[in-house]
Symmetry: C3
């Protein structure tokens, strides 16, 4: 792919500052870009590297444009979003195959679109449906009566248990497990009597789920990942959880059974949530938090256990002063004793 | 499946309160149940939904029976356990296949019961044994000389390394890895010299292990998951760990090498334990705890690092007061200074 | 394998204390060793078991040799490292196969050494390269244009996405995912616009990665695991992370995007790190830490959020005294009030 700076600006809806006729043939990070490359500044931490950067053009926001004087800049409202569009143009996704491989194992009664791509060694169970444009990599298992919509991608070694629903343009990364049994045992620690998990998992359109994340099937009813939710790697989603649309869940988060997240919730990495609570729309949860009760819409929380984020930061600031506080307290006790003796 | 309320009560050993001749044809959650369904109350949080519930019958405990007056109730000592039995009756588990698929890869010298179910694309190594009634899904790998007992289920893409022992009625969910090398390196951070892991993993009868959980083989001897232990998803069990029978381990817990848990231990999600410690029988550990030393039998602990649970809750209550405590302390210091000047 | 104590000492470069002509035929832990076995003491916790041990020989360090008087000892500087060498000798690793299985799925244009071992059901994509002596187990997926060097082992159900580089003598345990997309979305929580991840993963020689660990491909450029790094199970390595040579990362650690670790860094289990920070050479991080800013070379840190380890331990010691501190503080306030009233 080769485009001039002017053409790229037109494609992105941005404004050029500086020369606009240089030909760009690659997109690289600020450290690695050289002549003929375009790069970007999305995080102010990297502004100091701008001076020595060898890139021929830089995507910047209106706020950082001044720092790039003397260079060819493309000014866009959100350089990171613009980078995304540009990468999709310069480096289109390829799967290297098309069509349904005769070496895939497709059980009788499965309905696979002839316009789907099924790699060798995939397994599609009875009654399962695979829509057109969907790509199923080797080692993927689709259980009986599960369905995958159109233009989705299931990378190698994904497992989808029976009777689950997966929408359109969904991306499941390798090792993802959809629809394993929820952790339901009566008299735990004594009999551990299994409660069969007879529900299912529903994953709506445009969801992306990271490698080795697990989404358990519901005990009854459904575990539900709504439209355009993005989940990172190694996340645990328990039975009957609901995650509202546009939410983003970072790596290694754990969400216990029947907890419900609203829309646009953002959860930092390694956070844990107990079961049966409600997290309101657009809540933001700091990384490493332990959430044990409901959070109203729009709040920012952090800490273990949870507090409003401001409070959590104040508490943390005090925590590091604890040894000094204790020493001061002991001193005061002595002084008080002396005063009282007088 | 269709049964009257009276028949269900007989099956569960419960007592009916109200009409007992209605025919029940489904089991659903309290929000989703409609006429002809039975539902249940196992968590008091859901009692408030009882009034508007459309279910034709409700499983309740003696304590909550009064709240359901005017409805058809089946009173049982443990509604959640009763639900489990009922679900197993109404929705029996099916695998959609039986017999040993000719498309499975079974090496010479493996002994597979003709009464086992082996899906296409499973791999059974030399000297491995698979008992009758066991179901092996696609993508499962059973290493050389490992054995799986009777009536066990290994879901898609489970890996069992060589020389491991898996009992009867064991359930391993997708992505589980049994018998990978323990993390043993001499002079870590410098040479990282690998210490070969030449032991094995033993998993006793009636164990269930959740999706993408890892159980490492012992350095020497065995890593041992005893009878009826239940482990949730994404748990890490290191080399030479022993987990006593009936213990229940929630998601994302990590247990370091050679730590030993007694019987009936319950561990909350995301807890971490150091290596080489002993956790007594029936210990309960709160979610998110960091355990760094032995715990005597029967104790309840929590916190990071661990404390007795009561103490941990007191400490947490104070922690949120830290900014106020610090302000008060500073005020006292000033007052004391003034007093001393006088 | 049978060797005399004298022969073993010679092999290990150790000194014998006591009889040296006994024949040794096995290596076992101190609890399980019996006559004819050699055992070891690497952790002082196990010294008390030495008296009743039935082993015919014991590997000890110069510091613990005195405790073993009257026994046959082999004194070595590092008994754990010596154990590693001995296990490799007594129990050589076997894979039970050699050669390229005709049941493997190797796409046209892949270059597989005839001296590699490829199991049935492995998938090697177009343009991929597999070096001699490398072992590829069933269910492994190697994407287009990825390469694996010589004498590496990829256990069952490992996934390597396209265009990744894996060195020599690398060990990837089952369920490892190399090269899945990094978690990159513009306007997260609102549009969640995907930023294509067009970089790759480079894994240098002698790296070992534990079961179900995930290493994401770079957004641009590379995610880089340098020589001789050892990573435990269920670890998350985000896009563009760099881990310096000889570092050791324990289980369930999460490292966010673009963070860089120096050489010989040791990270305790369940630690989390934010993105875009630098961790200096030979830093040691205690288990369960939350790291949110740079750490200079050679420091020991711990806590959540991080502090120098000594400080963190002091703070923790105070934390458990919080209820008493609060009571004392309240008492002082009352006394002060009384004094001021006088």
């Amino acid at each position: 792919m080769k485009m001039t700076i002017a053409e790229i600006a037109l494609f992105l809806g941005g404004t050029v500052n500086g020369a606009d006729d240089t030909i760009i043939s690659g997109v690289r990070s600020i450290e690695e870009a050289h002549e003929g490359d375009i790069t970007f500044i999305a995080n102010k931490k990297y502004l100091k590297k701008l001076k020595s950067a060898k890139a021929s053009a830089v995507l910047v926001s209106p706020e950082t444009a001044a720092e790039g004087e003397g260079r060819s800049l493309i000014i866009v409202p959100d350089p990171y979003a613009a980078l995304g569009k540009l990468l999709a143009l310069f480096y289109p996704l390829e799967h290297g195959r098309s069509g349904v491989s005769p070496e895939a194992c497709i059980e009788d009664g499965a309905i696979v679109s002839p316009e789907a791509t099924i790699f060798p060694r995939a397994f599609i169970g009875q009654g399962a449906k695979i829509g057109k444009g969907t790509v199923i990599y080797p080692g993927v298992f689709i259980g009986r009566n599960s369905s995958v919509g159109e233009n989705s991608i299931l990378y190698a070694n994904v497992t989808v248990y029976h009777s689950c629903l997966i929408g359109n343009r969904v991306i499941l990364h390798s090792g993802v497990v959809i629809g394993g049994d929820g952790f339901g045992f009566a008299s735990p620690g004594r009999n551990n009597t299994k409660v069969p998990q007879v529900g299912f998992v529903q994953i709506d359109d445009d969801v992306e789920i990271g490698a080795n994340t697990t989404v358990d099937r519901a005990a009854l009813g459904r575990t539900w990942i709504q439209r355009n939710v993005k989940i990172d790697n190694l996340v645990q989603i328990a039975h009957n959880v609901v995650i509202g649309e546009n939410s983003a869940i970072a790596a290694q988060v754990g969400i216990s059974g029947s907890t419900k997240l609203g829309r646009g919730v953002m959860v930092g990495g390694q956070t844990g949530m107990v079961g049966h609570i409600n997290i309101g729309d657009h809540v933001m949860i700091a990384a490493g938090s332990k959430i044990h009760k409901d959070i109203p819409a729009g709040e920012m929380v952090g800490g273990a256990p949870q507090m409003p984020l401001k409070k959590a930061l104040q508490v943390e600031a005090c925590r590091s002063k604890l040894p000094e506080m204790r020493a001061t307290l002991n001193q005061l006790v002595r002084k008080m004793d002396e005063l009282q003796k007088k």
